[in-house]
Amino acid sequence: MTGRTEGIVLRSRTLGEADLIIEYLTKDFGTRSAFAKSPRKIKSRFGGSLEPFTHARIALTGKEDANLPRLTQSDIIRSFHPLRENTPGFIKACQFAELVMKLLPSEGRSHNAFALMLWGLDGLEKDPASVLVPLVFKLRLLELAGYAPALNGCTRCGGQTDVFYPRDGALLCGGCKKEGPALGLSAALIALHKSLSVFPLEKLSRIKPSGALLTELERFVELHFSEGVNVHIRSVKF
């Protein structure tokens, strides 16, 4: 493939002595890996543009069916360097990157996911301790990847219920329930989930949920990831 697009560095892996394979979330081509020649050398023209979470204008060259195009240009649009200098914020951003790599398909247009990632990184850079930003990021990413929990009544019969079955990723009523773990959700949490899923990202700061509600939502999201989506995040606090 050959093309110019914008990309956010999700991760890099060393290849040989001084080369890197960079995993990008691109604006136009989904998640993509690219081969960068010698960026680890001190005088590399790539400089710091391949560091994690850098938003850059990139150029990729290679055959149409090449799995690993070559990175020929990378100009920083926004470095997100302050985020990398804050360990708690950095770990949360690593979780974003990990989830994007695990949940999003590697092809196709990805404008929404790209905008979400930029929003998430911006939010963490401004407030690395934010609880709301990671939660909204995860909920919106689940939506984009097709793994969003179904919280509009019983998924089978449409009846009223507030019991969530993580392995089904949905609410189920007493008549339709299955074996396995279940979690009772408060009406406030279901309402908050709905608001966070549909409210425009740029206006989300207007939503001010209580600490207890955020903790409940955090527990719910973690359970949905581990039991329903079956994704385990490696980037943990240390």
């Binding site: 040989g16 400089g47 994690p52 360990t87 980037s235």
Partner: protein
């Protein structure tokens, strides 16, 4: 038979980084034409390396005895420790001639996304050395990239309760480089780390 022997060596040499089949072929025929004692010395060096190489018990550098040459050197400044990611980094610092203290090899750098945590590195051993050996300064020379930075910050926190100066090697533009090609992060770091001309 001869072809099999050559083919086998070519096969083995292509396992080395940066050596393709053509280079391996050239090396194999070069080795074939070497003097016997030189070729056997090369083979012997590889065997000795694999049989005897181990980590220094103090600094985790590569050595062939319990402690490495640097740790045994009584002329070294034992109050300073330079922390590096890999044993190969020690060679680079040594070549610079700018440091006469001891080293500590972490054997990697922290990387949350790859699941590399402090427990997987030699950070606890570094803390123990600082605690037991009366160290005045720890110079952190991890790579100037995100992993190196996260590791440096973690070490600083881990050494927070000790009366030791924790320093970081400088950032900036490489000698012989041109400002025109510098990216904004490197340039910013260079400006932050500027020094007064004497």
């Amino acid at each position: 038979m001869a072809r099999g022997v050559i083919e086998n060596l070519i096969e083995q040499l292509t396992k080395l980084p940066g050596v393709g089949r053509k280079s391996a072929q050239r090396l194999a025929f070069f080795i074939l034409n070497m003097k016997d004692e030189d070729a056997l010395a090369l083979a012997g060096a590889i065997t000795a390396l694999k049989q005897n190489a181990r980590f220094c018990q103090k600094c985790f550098n590569i050595t062939d005895s319990d402690t490495c040459e640097i740790c045994r050197d009584s002329l070294r400044d034992r109050k300073r420790i330079c922390v590096v990611e890999e044993p190969s980094n020690i060679l680079v610092v040594e070549r610079s001639g700018g440091f006469n203290g001891l080293y500590h090899v972490l054997q990697g750098a922290l990387s949350p996304i790859d699941g590399i945590t402090p427990a997987m590195l030699r950070i606890k051993e570094l803390v123990d050395r600082v605690h037991n050996d009366g160290v005045d300064e720890v110079v952190i020379a991890t790579n100037p990239n995100t992993r190196g930075e996260v590791t440096a910050r973690h070490i600083k926190e881990a050494l927070g309760s000790f009366n030791v100066a924790v320093t970081r090697i400088a950032y900036g533009l490489p000698l012989g480089g041109d400002i025109e090609f510098a990216d904004e992060i490197t340039m910013k770091k260079s400006l932050e780390g500027r020094t007064r001309l004497e």
